[in-house]
């Protein structure tokens, strides 16, 4: 609002009036001002605003030089707004060193709004855009404008805004815009993908550099960073393009998942839920993400490949990736042993002991129960599991 100045409504040299609208209110940014219900005139150089009748009688009015306007935007009315009020946002450039008087010296906003309480008769947006392109205030354009000023007075073609055709046209335009912005967004994504190789290379060089300097670095953060890079990164992710058939692709993928996850699974007690597997593999790949289906298919292929990991499905349908060395008996024995040490456990506690998810802990307890190695106590305090004294003590 500090860009708006007091000025005389008299037209300058080469300035001509384009559009006049009534009942217009000015906003400083998002805030209403006391300048309301006035007359708005758009000229080739300025936007003038005056109290009703002020401009005709030549009294001082508010003026905004169009040279300060960066671009304009029409505020789209809410879907359920039935008022005729339309708003136009004018984004302004920084204030020039203009010392002349204005209604406000400072403003936190870099835009003002024009609110047309009654809507507008003429197509204000198009007119404004047109004027901004013409740049009549710039000296070089003056020459062109001098000749026939009447030609530029012709208002741009008025768009059909009413009726069903108008609505349809509006919708079409919106769709077109959305299409454009989507394709622009995907262009960016493609660029990102092409950049990805370089990024991977960069991370590799960093990790090798850190490896070289291993002796010198003791700083905790560096060690952490190094471990992130080394434990998570997959140097050359297996992609579908490099394989001829799906089976081969899944096999390659299975090998990759095994190398990436063997260590963490060993740390977690030999089992990892499929959701975790999916997340960790994709985090390790960074880009070239896998779909859940591909991950699952790759895990299914592990059994046949004699890999250190295999897919295991609990009776409830929950699937986990577990070490090949693990079988039902050893798992239930280990679970039973834990229960014995703690007298009794519930799913949450077992999950904490083993560092596994509660779902997984529950599955382990249920399978141990199924093997008769523990028994349940289902009370109002929740489900707990005890050593199976019924079978042991007799």
């Amino acid at each position: 609002m500090n860009r708006v100045k007091y000025a005389s409504p008299l037209l300058l040299e080469n300035e001509y009036t384009l559009v006049t609208e009534y009942n217009v209110r000015l906003y400083d940014g998002d805030q209403k001002t006391s300048f309301e219900g006035g007359q708005l005139i758009i000229t080739s150089h300025r936007i003038l605003w005056g109290r009703p009748g002020a401009i005709e009688t030549g009294q001082t009015c508010l003026a905004l030089n169009l040279s300060l306007v960066v671009y304009i935007e029409e505020e789209s009315p809410g879907t359920f707004s039935f008022s005729r009020s339309r708003k136009i946002i004018l984004f302004l450039s920084e204030n020039s060193n203009d010392q002349s008087n204005g209604p406000q010296y400072t403003s936190i906003y870099n835009f003002i709004k024009l609110s047309f309480r009654e809507g507008y008769q003429h197509n204000v947006v198009d007119t404004l855009n047109h004027v901004l392109q013409q740049k009549a205030w710039e000296p070089k354009n003056v020459q062109r404008q001098v000749g026939p000023p009447s030609t530029s007075k012709i208002p741009p073609p008025i768009k059909l805004r009413t009726g069903i055709v108008g609505i349809e046209r509006n919708l079409q335009e919106k769709q077109k815009k959305a299409d454009e912005s989507i394709s622009v967004a995907f262009q960016d994504l493609n660029k990102l993908m092409t950049m990805a190789k370089d990024m991977v290379k960069l991370s590799q060089t960093i990790s090798t550099k850190i490896k070289e300097k291993q002796g010198d670095i003791t700083d905790d953060d560096t060690v952490k960073f190094k471990s992130y890079l080394l434990s998570l990164g997959i140097d050359d992710p297996v992609t579908r393009d490099s394989y001829k058939s799906n089976t081969q692709y899944y096999r390659g993928l299975a090998r990759e998942i095994c190398t990436a996850l063997k260590e963490p699974i060993e740390k977690m007690g030999g089992m990892m839920g499929m959701t975790d597997v999916f997340c960790r593999v994709n985090r390790a790949r960074g880009l070239e993400l896998l779909s859940p289906e591909d991950t699952l298919n790759a895990c299914k292929a592990m059994e046949a490949l004699d890999l250190p990991l295999k897919l295991y499905q609990f009776n409830s349908g929950v699937m986990v990736l577990q070490l090949r060395t693990l079988d039902d008996d050893t798992v239930s024995d280990a679970t039973a042993q834990l229960i014995k040490e703690n007298e009794s456990v519930n799913c949450e506690e077992l999950g904490q002991f083993l560092g596994i998810s509660i779902v997984l802990a529950k599955e382990r307890l249920l399978s141990a129960e199924k093997a008769g190695k523990c028994c349940r106590d289902d009370s109002i305090e929740g489900l707990r599991f005890y050593p199976n004294l019924f079978l042991i003590d007799e």
């Binding site: 009794s344 028994c375 349940r376 106590d377 009370s379 005890y386 019924f390 079978l391």
Partner: protein
């Protein structure tokens, strides 16, 4: 019913005892432990009939020390198991009221008949009250047996031609042979 001296088995203070176990082998051990405990308890407390709705409040099915309680549906299923061995019988369709036979009816029959023959009471007419509440039978195991249960036992003996029930209005009794 409350104050009965029972040597509670170890299972009684083991919380999973009060949850029906899904694992078949575990469950059969659990149920058989329950069966033994119920018969033991009823024998000590001289309980011949029970109503599940009431019995679920007894200490038998309610261990206040560990705050566990056997669900009445589980009680019913265990009683049904007992019924298979002739140790219990449901009295109504909803299976809420039960006769508990800590001796099966056959066992009772032979116990009573051996008492009769031991005391030389054959060919004598005895009232039901004399058998279950008489001064002479006070020391016997079947003392305090409800008339309804006693009749069921005697019916068995009648089938074996060892006695004859007299069920006329003015006198209810039995004559042993």
């Amino acid at each position: 019913m409350a104050d009965v001296e029972v040597n509670w088995p170890w299972q009684y203070s083991f919380p999973p005892f009060f949850t029906l176990q899904p694992h078949p082998e575990t469950r059969s051990k659990q149920v058989s432990a329950w069966k033994t405990l119920i018969l033991e308890y009823c024998k000590k407390a001289k309980i011949y009939t029970l109503d599940v709705r009431e019995a679920s409040q007894w200490p038998l099915f309610n261990n206040a020390a560990i705050n566990r309680k056997l669900d009445s549906s589980v009680i019913i299923s265990i009683l049904s198991e007992l019924a298979k061995n002739g140790n219990a019988a449901a009295l109504d369709k909803g299976r809420n009221r039960w006769d508990i036979y800590w001796h099966t009816l056959e066992e009772w029959a032979s116990i009573i008949y051996s008492y009769i023959s031991d005391s030389g009471l054959q060919n004598t007419v005895l009232t039901f009250y004399e058998i279950s509440n008489g001064a002479d039978t006070e020391s016997q195991e079947f003392a305090g047996m409800p008339i309804e249960v006693l009749i069921k036992v005697l019916r068995l003996l009648e089938n074996d031609q060892k006695c004859e029930l007299i069920l006329s209005n003015d006198m209810q009794g039995v004559k042993f042979f």
